[in-house]
C-alpha cells in the first residue's frame, strides 16, 4: 500500500513539475559524419539594423581533408548575447551545407559569430564570421551614402545604379577600405567631406559637401564609414552629440 502511494506520489510530482519546465529545448540532431574543415559559402560581413535579421542567411560548408563536402555533420552557431540563430545547430545537407538565419543583438557594432563542428577525433573545428549591426546614426549615414557617395565610392555597379568609379582618373577609396580610412581621424574625414579633396591635398574630383550636408549628417556619414571599415575601426562609433 505504502509503496503504491509512493509511486503515485512520484508520478504526481513528475506530472505537476513537468508543467513548470520552461520551453522544452529541441534536442540537438545526432551527427552521422564528421568533417575536418568549415568554409564560409555566403553570409559573412552583412549589415542590418540593430536587433534585425540579416538580409541573407549564413551558409557554411563542411569539408573533409580532401576538400569534398561532408553531409550529415553537426554544425553549431554561437554569438554574443542577443544574437539569435534559426536554427542554432543543424546537420549539413547532401551538399555539405548548413544554412541559418541570424538576427543581431540590440547594440550597434560588430558581432563575432562562431560556427563550430567536431572532426573525427572529437576536436572542435571553428570558423569565425563578422556581422555588423547599424544604429540610428549609421542607418542615417547609409542613406546619405546611397544618395551622395556610393555612385563614385562603390566600384560595384547594379542595373539600377551604374558606378562612376571606373570613370575617375584618381580612384576614390571604397568606404570598406579600412587599411586607408582607419588611419584618417574623424577630424580629417570631416574636413575632406566639408571642404573637398584639396583640403587634405587630395584630388579635386572629390567635391565639398559642407554647403549641402549639415554637421549632423556629416557625423552620421563618418559613423557609417567607421561601421563598414574592414579591417574594423578601433573604437566604435562617433562621439555622442552633447545637448
Amino acid at each position: 500500500m505504502k509503496r503504491r502511494l509512493a509511486t503515485l506520489g512520484v508520478v504526481l510530482f513528475l506530472v505537476l513539475t513537468s508543467g513548470c519546465a520552461r520551453k522544452v529545448s529541441s534536442a540537438k540532431p545526432r551527427a552521422t559524419a564528421n568533417g575536418s574543415a568549415l568554409v564560409e559559402s555566403s553570409g559573412g560581413k552583412q549589415f542590418a539594423p540593430v536587433g534585425s535579421p540579416l538580409p541573407q542567411p549564413i551558409v557554411v560548408q563542411v569539408n573533409d581533408e580532401q576538400g569534398t563536402a561532408v553531409p550529415g555533420a553537426l554544425v553549431e552557431f554561437r554569438g554574443p548575447s542577443g544574437v539569435t540563430f534559426d536554427p542554432e545547430s543543424a546537420l549539413s545537407d547532401s551538399s555539405g551545407q548548413v544554412t541559418t538565419n541570424v538576427a543581431l543583438g540590440e547594440m550597434a557594432g560588430r558581432y563575432r559569430i562562431t560556427v563550430s563542428t567536431t572532426d573525427k577525433l572529437g576536436k572542435a573545428v571553428e570558423l569565425k564570421l563578422e556581422e555588423v549591426a547599424l544604429g540610428y546614426q549609421q542607418i542615417l549615414g547609409r542613406q546619405l551614402n546611397d544618395h551622395y557617395c556610393s555612385r563614385c565610392h562603390d566600384p560595384e555597379s547594379t542595373p539600377e545604379r551604374v558606378s562612376n568609379f571606373d570613370n575617375l582618373e584618381t580612384k576614390p577609396h571604397p568606404f570598406a577600405e579600412g587599411d586607408t580610412l582607419n588611419k584618417m581621424s574623424d577630424a580629417d574625414l570631416t574636413a575632406i567631406i566639408t571642404h573637398g579633396g584639396p583640403a587634405l591635398n587630395k584630388s579635386p574630383l572629390m567635391p565639398p559637401y559642407g554647403y549641402t550636408l549639415s554637421k549632423t549628417e556629416i557625423q552620421a556619414l563618418i559613423s557609417y564609414i567607421r561601421a563598414v571599415a574592414d579591417p574594423p575601426y578601433p573604437t566604435p562609433g562617433i562621439v555622442y552629440a552633447k545637448n
Binding site: 539594423p49 540593430v50 536587433g51 534585425s52 535579421p53 538580409p55 538576427a103 540590440e106 547594440m107 550597434a108 557594432g109 544604429g135 540610428y136 546614426q137 542607418i139 542615417l140 542613406q143 546619405l144 544618395h147 551622395y148 555612385r151 563614385c152 545604379r161 551604374v162 558606378s163 562612376n164 570613370n167 575617375l168 584630388s203 579635386p204 574630383l205 572629390m206 567635391p207 565639398p208 559637401y209 559642407g210 554647403y211 549641402t212 549632423t216 557625423q219 552620421a220 559613423s223 573604437t235 566604435p236 562609433g237 562617433i238 562621439v239 555622442y240 552629440a241 552633447k242 545637448n243
Partner: protein, 684 residues
C-alpha cells in the same frame, strides 16, 4: 518527554533572569531594525552605481566623470509627456561622450540620436516602466505593468509617434507606412493619425463592374484560388477560398458585369500582327517596361512596378478588350495610370499579338466551369459581401463597407490580455502583430483576413508602422506632433491639363507636389529648358543621362498637341527666382567662356560627374552637357550652379557656394556647348 525538557531548559537559560531576557530581546530588535537599511544598501541600482564608479576609477578622464556622477536614484520628470524615468539611476554613463569604448550594459553611453535625453526621457522611445528601479520591473512586463521594453528592431516605431512626415533616418517606418497604403491594408482597417489625418490606400484596385469585357470566368476562378500563381507580384492577397466559393464568386462577378461598348470596340486585326519581332520592338520602343514587369527566362522580374506584371497576360485578357485598351485605356478606366499612346491600327495589333503570346500553358486556365445556377450567383454575392471585396474594388450594386475590419488606430498599445496567442509564441505585442500578418488564418476558425506574401523585412516594417499607432501618440502635446505634408491635388488647367491627364504625366513626373518619382520633377520646367528643345524632346525623346535607362516613351503626339503642351509648360512652370529676361546680363564673351572652362575642369572638377567633351570626360552621374547650350536657359544654369538644392531639394549635386563671378563664367562656358554645327547639319 525529553524534547519538552530540552526546550524548557533552553527557555530558562535565555529568559531565566531579566538581564538575559533584555539582552536577547534587544538583539532581536536591533536585527529587525537593520533589515530596512540593509535592503536599501543591497538594491540593484546601488550595485550598478558601484560598478560604474569602479569602472571610471581607472580611466584617464576619471575626474570629469566623477564630477558628473550623482549618486542616489536619478529621475527625468517631464510632466508634459507623462514621463517619470529613473533609468539613469542604473544607466549612469548614458550622457557621457567619452565612454565610446565601453560596451557593457548598463554602463554604456547612449548612441547618438537627434534628441536630448533630458527633453524626451527614455520610455518615449524604449517603452517599459520608467518609474521602476529594478531591472525586471523596468524592462519586462510584470503583473502590474504590461508594457515591456520595445525590441530594438522596432525602435523606429517610436519616431513615428510624433513624426508623421517622411524622415530620412527611419527607412523601416517609412516602408511600413508605404506598405499599409500600397497593399490596401487601410481599405479594411481604418488607421487614424494624431495629426488628424486618416491613412489612405494607394493600391488603386481595378473596378469589377465591367470585368466580363476584360477576362473570362475561368481566369477569375483561377486567380481567386491563388493570385500569386498568376503573378508573383500580385497585390491581391490569397483569401484561401474553397473551390466552390471561387466558383460562386466568379459566377456572380461575371453575371454582375455590364457591357461597356467603348471597351470592346472592334479594331480590325491586322495581318502583320503575328510578327513577334516587330511586336517586341514596339514593346521596347514604347517603354512599357518602365511600368510593367515581365519574368525573364532566368526567373527574374524585369521592369517597373507601376502597372501589373505581364508575364502571363496572354492567359488573362480577351484580345478585343486588349485592342481597345491599347487604343485608349481611358475608355475602360478613366482614372488609370496608363498613358494614352497614340497607336495606329497596325501598332495596336502588333502589341496585342505580342502580349497575347505571353501565355503560360502550365497556368491552370483550362478549368471547366458549368454554367452557374441562380443559387450559386446569389451565394457568390453573399461571399463578396462577406469577404469585403468592395473595400478595395468597385463592384456595381455593392457599397464599400464601413469599418469592415478592426480599427488599428491604437493597435500599438493593445493590452496583451485581449490578444490570442498561438502555442509557442512569445506573449508580446510585436510578436502578435508579426505573426498575425505572417499567418492570419492560423489564429482561429472563420477568420477573414487574407494571406499576404510579405517578406520578413516587409513584415517587420509593417509592425513598426503599426506599433507607432499607440495611446501615447494621441496624448502627446500638440506642439510635438509633426504632421505629414498634405497630399497635393494639383491639376493643370485647360486643354493642356486634359492632355497631361490623357498622357498620364503624373504617373512618372511630379509637378507641384503631386505625382510619381520615376522621372524628373517638372514644376520649374519652363524656367529650365528652351522651348525648341522641349518641342524636339516631346517629338522624339532621348536620354540625358548615360547611366540611366531611358524611360520617357514616344507618344506619337501631333504638332498641335506638342505646341499646346510646350506653351503651357513654358508659361506656367516658371520658377519665381529665375528671370528669363536677365539673359544679357550674363554676357558671353570669349574671355568668360575660357574662364568658365578653367573653372569647370580645374577648381570645380565638374568632369567627375558630367561630360562636356566626349573625348576626354567620362563623368557618368549627372546629365551629359555636350549640347546643354541648346537645351537649358542661361538664368537657370546660373542659379543652379549657385545652389542646386534651392531649385530641386534633395538634388545630389553638391552646393559649391560659388561666387557670382564664377557662376557667370561657368554659365557662359556651358551655354557655349551647342554641339558642332556641322554634326547637327549632318543629322538633319
Amino acid at each position: 518527554m525529553p524534547l519538552t525538557d530540552k526546550f524548557a531548559s533552553q527557555w530558562r537559560r535565555l529568559f531565566g533572569d531579566s538581564v538575559h531576557a533584555f539582552g536577547v530581546v534587544g538583539i532581536v530588535f536591533l536585527v529587525s531594525l537593520a533589515i530596512a537599511p540593509a535592503k536599501n544598501y543591497f538594491t540593484e541600482w546601488r550595485h550598478y552605481q558601484k560598478q560604474y564608479l569602479k569602472m571610471i576609477r581607472g580611466r584617464g578622464d576619471a575626474v570629469t566623470l566623477q564630477r558628473h556622477f550623482q549618486g542616489g536614484i536619478q529621475q527625468i520628470w517631464l510632466p508634459d509627456l507623462g514621463v517619470v524615468d529613473r533609468c539613469t539611476s542604473c544607466h549612469a554613463g548614458l550622457k557621457e561622450a567619452s565612454l565610446v569604448d565601453v560596451s557593457t550594459q548598463p554602463l554604456r553611453k547612449h548612441p547618438a540620436i537627434p534628441h536630448s535625453l533630458d527633453q524626451f526621457g527614455c520610455v518615449m522611445c524604449h517603452r517599459g516602466q520608467g518609474a521602476a528601479t529594478t531591472l525586471e520591473e523596468a524592462h519586462r512586463s510584470t503583473l502590474a505593468w504590461e508594457q515591456p521594453m520595445l525590441p530594438a528592431r522596432y525602435i523606429e516605431s517610436s519616431c513615428g509617434q510624433c513624426h508623421h512626415q517622411q524622415l530620412q533616418g527611419t527607412p523601416q517606418l517609412n516602408l511600413g507606412r508605404k506598405l499599409l497604403a500600397r497593399y490596401g491594408c487601410v481599405n479594411c482597417h481604418s488607421v487614424k493619425q494624431p495629426d488628424g489625418t486618416v491613412m489612405k490606400a494607394t493600391d488603386d484596385a481595378p473596378s469589377l463592374s465591367h470585368v466580363a469585357d476584360k477576362t473570362t470566368r475561368e481566369w477569375i476562378y483561377t486567380w481567386l484560388r491563388d493570385p500569386r500563381a498568376y503573378a508573383a507580384t500580385a497585390t491581391m492577397p490569397d483569401f484561401k477560398l474553397k473551390d466552390e466559393d471561387a466558383r460562386d464568386i466568379s459566377a456572380f462577378l461575371i453575371s454582375n458585369s455590364s457591357r461597356l461598348p467603348s471597351a470592346t470596340e472592334t479594331v480590325p486585326p491586322q495581318k502583320a500582327a503575328a510578327d513577334a519581332a516587330a511586336g517586341a520592338s514596339l514593346y521596347g520602343e514604347s517603354f512599357c517596361a518602365s511600368c510593367h514587369a515581365v519574368e525573364n527566362a532566368a526567373g527574374n522580374l524585369v521592369g517597373g512596378d507601376v502597372g501589373p506584371e505581364l508575364t502571363r497576360v496572354g492567359n488573362k485578357l480577351r484580345p478585343e478588350w486588349l485592342r481597345a485598351w491599347l487604343r485608349n485605356p481611358r475608355s475602360y478606366d478613366p482614372g488609370t495610370q496608363m498613358p494614352h499612346y497614340r497607336f495606329n491600327d497596325l501598332q495596336v495589333s502588333l502589341l496585342t499579338g505580342f502580349l497575347q503570346a505571353k501565355f503560360d500553358p502550365d497556368f491552370p486556365s483550362n478549368v471547366h466551369l458549368e454554367s452557374p445556377t441562380p443559387e450559386q450567383i446569389a451565394n457568390g454575392r453573399r461571399l463578396v459581401m462577406d469577404y469585403g471585396c468592395a473595400s478595395c474594388h468597385r463592384i456595381s450594386g455593392i457599397k464599400k463597407p464601413e469599418n469592415f475590419a478592426p480599427e488599428l488606430t491604437r493597435i500599438g498599445s493593445k493590452p496583451i490580455n485581449q490578444l490570442v496567442f498561438l502555442p509557442g509564441m512569445e506573449h508580446t505585442l510585436p510578436e502578435y502583430i508579426t505573426n498575425k500578418i505572417r499567418q492570419p488564418r492560423a489564429f482561429g476558425q472563420g477568420l477573414k483576413m487574407p494571406q499576404y506574401g510579405f517578406t520578413p523585412v516587409q513584415i517587420d516594417a509593417i509592425a513598426t508602422a503599426l506599433l507607432a499607432q499607440n495611446e501615447r501618440a494621441f496624448t502627446l502635446p500638440p506642439y510635438l506632433i509633426l504632421a505629414a505634408a498634405p497630399a497635393s491635388n494639383y491639376t493643370p488647367a485647360g486643354n493642356a491639363g486634359k492632355l497631361m491627364k490623357d498622357l498620364a504625366c503624373f504617373s512618372c513626373h511630379t509637378i507641384n507636389g503631386r505625382g510619381g518619382d520615376m522621372a524628373p520633377d517638372l514644376s520649374w520646367e519652363g524656367s529650365s529648358v528652351q522651348r525648341k528643345w522641349l518641342q524636339e524632346f516631346l517629338k522624339n525623346p532621348n536620354t540625358l543621362r548615360p547611366a540611366l535607362i531611358r524611360r520617357m516613351p514616344k507618344f506619337n503626339l501631333t504638332d498641335s498637341e506638342i505646341n499646346e503642351l510646350t506653351d503651357y509648360m513654358m508659361t506656367v512652370y516658371q520658377n519665381p527666382v529665375i528671370d528669363l529676361d536677365s539673359v544679357p546680363v550674363f554676357g558671353n564673351s570669349l574671355v568668360q567662356v575660357e574662364q568658365g572652362k578653367q573653372l569647370f575642369y580645374g577648381k570645380y572638377a565638374c568632369q567627375s560627374c558630367h561630360i562636356v567633351d566626349v573625348k576626354t570626360d567620362k563623368g557618368y552621374i549627372g546629365p551629359t552637357l555636350t549640347l546643354v547650350g541648346s537645351r537649358m536657359t542661361a538664368p537657370w544654369i546660373y542659379q543652379w550652379v549657385k545652389n542646386p538644392q534651392a531649385l530641386r531639394p534633395g538634388s545630389n549635386e553638391p552646393n559649391r557656394n560659388m561666387s557670382d563671378e564664377d557662376a557667370r563664367a561657368l554659365t557662359a562656358f556651358l551655354m557655349n556647348q551647342k554641339g558642332s554645327p556641322a554634326k547637327e547639319a549632318r543629322k538633319k
